[in-house]
């Protein structure tokens, strides 16, 4: 009788595995979840393709397996933050799991909002799924750990900002000849900032002469959104060698005089370069946040640019949204001399390793059921399809999946780049005051974009303002 049952189970497993659903031990899930079956766990996240996949597909699978209901609230970026923080700060326990964008994790840890997942799983051995393994994650998971290496969030999406260029333009014989005639060297995807600037100038002039809506670069320069500060501090700055926003946490200062670097030469050089690209960017650049930069590029309005990787996949493949499918080239972002080498030696980074994870707030009243859920979405077996839908990869093993390999070819090796060069990128600086200080810097970057302040003025005023805020927050000198 018992053997018969086992065989049936085995067949069921085989079927399930074939259907590429959940290959794990179904019975284990049902058994572990038995005490919590019928309960409901609630979470909040930003409404992005990876989140929507979790809400629509994974949540249903999980409920079927365990009988635990998952109520998933997807909302806008601002709302997601304010609701999660209100909930955790007021200790109301509305959410059992919250989306943690990588850059806010250190703020949450400093306030002790989150459950130590490593510890919690160890304390509740009955809940530890065999298929879930913290070491299976890419280096991105390192940016959700505390000093002891314990994990506080299960990574659910991860990407880096890459250099995208239009292959059809860069490989066009006439254009190549024209470029070489003008600049004296062959046209190629940029590897130095001088080359980047030449490309930008050339394509802007080319667009004008051909009466095309084409410009030489993108700039994520919205003057009404933190996106501009992020592009400068997290992408352009590091590629010039400006790390950690130029803030020296030990000294509690951003000013060079006190050990900071926000008003230093490197920072000024980086900001000057970035702003000098504005005339070669499409006119919407000063209103563009991350998604609008991607849309501009997808519309064929820029020949090259800095674009977040989560967009690379749809820009390269989705014809309903992009006019440049099949023509997208992907490279590492341009860096100043020595920056890559420093990053390889672990003394810096070339850009921001962005993404998010799900964590459990201490205020949750269903921590056990939620732990099961987070392990469920952290299993290797659910990753590939999710990655194909959301262009996000958090497990090293996912890179080898045939589904991803197939996509990789279409996206000009974005996933390979992420796999091989991912460690050159780093998470946000470990500040317990992320959004607070970024908000202080925003207006200065915006005024520099408008030309009201020179780069040097903007940065020196920003550094002073940051120091004031640090002092107010209790992290200053």
């Amino acid at each position: 009788m018992k053997r018969c049952f086992t065989i049936v189970l085995l067949i069921a497993f085989a079927l399930v595995a074939n259907m590429s659903l959940v290959s794990a031990d179904d019975a284990w899930w049902a058994e572990a979840a038995a005490p919590y079956a019928g309960s409901t766990i609630r979470g909040v996240s930003e409404s992005t393709p990876p989140s929507n996949y979790v809400a629509d597909v994974l949540a249903a699978q999980f409920t079927e397996l365990t009988g635990i209901h998952v109520e998933f609230e997807t909302t806008s970026w601002d709302q997601m933050y304010s609701k999660a923080i209100n909930d955790m700060e007021a200790n109301t326990g509305i959410y059992d799991f919250v989306y943690i964008e990588q850059d806010i994790i250190y703020s949450y840890l400093a306030q002790d909002y989150l459950v130590n997942l490593t510890q919690f799983a160890a304390d509740n051995a009955a809940l530890a799924a065999a298929d879930y393994d913290e070491s299976a994650f890419t280096s991105f998971a390192d940016y959700f750990k505390n000093a002891d290496g314990d994990l506080f969030g299960v990574p659910m999406e991860a990407f880096v900002k890459v250099y995208l260029y239009r292959k059809d333009l860069f490989e066009d014989a006439d254009i190549m000849a024209a470029f070489e005639a003008e600049y004296g060297y062959p046209l190629a995807p940029a590897e130095t900032f001088e080359q980047y600037a030449d490309n930008a100038m050339f394509f802007t002039a080319y667009g004008e002469s051909m009466d095309m809506d084409l410009w030489g670069t993108t700039v994520q320069g919205s003057t009404g959104h933190p996106a501009s500060t992020y592009e400068f501090l997290e992408s352009i700055g590091p590629s010039f060698g400006l790390y950690n926003w130029g803030i020296n946490l030990d000294a509690g200062s951003a000013q060079s005089a006190n050990g900071g670097a926000l008003d230093g030469e490197t920072a000024v050089e980086a900001l000057s370069f970035w702003l000098s690209m504005l005339p070669y960017a499409p006119p919407e650049a000063t209103s563009s946040t991350w998604d609008e930069v991607a849309s501009s590029f997808a519309a064929g309005r820029a020949a090259q640019g800095w674009v977040y990787g989560e967009n690379a996949a749809w820009i390269a493949t989705d014809e309903s949204r992009s006019a440049v499918t099949g023509n997208v080239g992907v490279r590492l972002p341009v860096t100043a001399p020595g920056v890559i080498e420093a990053a390889q030696m672990g003394e810096g980074y070339i850009g921001y390793y962005d993404g998010g994870a799900f964590g459990i707030p201490h205020s949750s009243r269903n921590k056990e059921a939620t732990l099961l859920w987070l392990q469920f979405i952290g299993q290797p077996s659910v990753q590939a399809e999710w990655a194909a839908v959301g262009a996000r990869i958090t497990h090293t093993a996912t890179f080898d999946d045939p589904l991803i390999a197939e996509q990789d070819a279409k996206v000009d090796g974005y996933y390979t780049l992420l796999e091989e060069q991912g460690p050159l990128f780093a998470g946000a600086p470990p500040f317990p005051f992320h959004a607070q200080v970024r908000e202080i810097i925003d207006p200065f970057i915006q005024r520099a974009i408008l030309g009201e302040l020179t780069p040097a003025e903007a940065l020196s005023q920003a550094a002073m303002a940051v120091d004031e805020e640090l002092a107010r927050l209790g992290y200053g000198m």
């Binding site: 009404g224 933190p226 919407e284 209103s287 959004a435 927050l473 209790g474």
Partner: protein, 290 residues
């Protein structure tokens, strides 16, 4: 004959709801406003700091700048709305073929949610897909980029506000005009008053309470404006109005103490402004009745 107790009874449900959902949160904000409290500071919880927040506010250039911007926004927008709304309402009281059609069409903007209004105006004015900058450039050779020119961003929000809220003024004016009895108007005409005199001495005094209410509501809402402008320009240069500034201090900066004190001052300024208006207009009315 009229027992005040009955009056209080009629008023009580309103008072109860407003005390719970309006006044109680106000007390909380009042309390927090006198404390230093940033959720993500090194210190734990609230620290009483007396008037420090208010002292800081006086020297906060961003705040003062936002007040100036809000004032310009409110004056331009509300001035235009009241004049335009009154003209439209006056014209709608006359009978002419197609009147109800026009009235319905002119109520449309009001029905669009502020979030959607902001989105649709963004779609109109952002270069790349917006027709406005495209045709301005093609026909008049004008550069129009709300991200680059703060004045353009401000004027765009003013125009958007006029588009969105003029119907509101028209509707309230219609309600006001509908309650004016015909008798005095006819009497004035018999007495030989011209149109302007009828308007000034008969219509306007009757309309005054509704006009006052309308201006009040518009002032308050303009000062609190967040959603539309947020969607349109994100509250960048030229559109960083006080409502949006408060929102940024309270939310991404999580500086609840300082945010509360700015809210209090803004509320206080609004009340003073409205009180003066209230006195000015209702005082004059009393004078006339006597």
């Amino acid at each position: 004959m009229r027992n005040p107790r009955v009056g209080w009874a009629l008023l009580s449900p309103t008072l109860v709801i407003l005390l719970i959902f309006g006044f109680a949160p106000f007390l909380y904000v009042l309390f927090v406003g006198f404390n230093q409290w940033n959720v993500f500071s090194a210190a734990d919880g609230l620290v009483f700091n007396g008037l420090d927040n208010f002292r800081r506010l006086v020297f906060d250039d961003d705040f003062l700048h936002s007040v100036g911007l809000t004032a310009r926004f409110a004056i331009f927008a509300i001035g235009s709305e009241v004049v335009l709304g009154f003209v439209l309402a006056q014209m709608l009281t006359r009978d002419f073929p197609g009147r109800s059609l026009f009235r319905i069409i002119h109520t449309f903007p009001l029905m669009v949610a502020p979030i959607a209004v902001g989105a649709i105006w963004r779609l109109l004015v952002i270069p790349g897909f917006g027709p406005v900058p495209f045709f301005l450039d093609r026909w008049l050779d004008l550069t129009y980029q709300i991200g680059t020119y703060p004045d353009q961003a401000l004027m765009t929000s003013v125009l958007m506000d006029i588009w969105h809220w003029t119907p509101f003024v028209t509707l309230t004016m219609l309600a006001g005009l509908s309650s004016i009895p015909r008798e005095p108007v006819e009497q004035a005409k018999v007495d030989g008053a011209n149109r302007l005199q009828v308007f000034w001495y008969v219509t306007l005094p009757f309309l005054r309470p509704v006009l006052l209410t309308t201006i009040f509501i518009r002032i308050m809402d303009a000062i609190r404006t967040v959603d539309e402008v947020w969607m349109l320009a994100g509250g960048g240069p030229g559109t960083r109005f006080t409502g949006i500034y408060i929102w940024r201090v309270v939310f991404p900066r999580t500086d609840y103490g300082y945010g509360s004190s700015i809210s209090l001052i803004t509320l206080y300024l609004t009340i003073v402004l409205c009180w003066l208006l209230f006195i000015a207009i209702s005082g004059r009315r009393k004078g006339e009745v006597e």
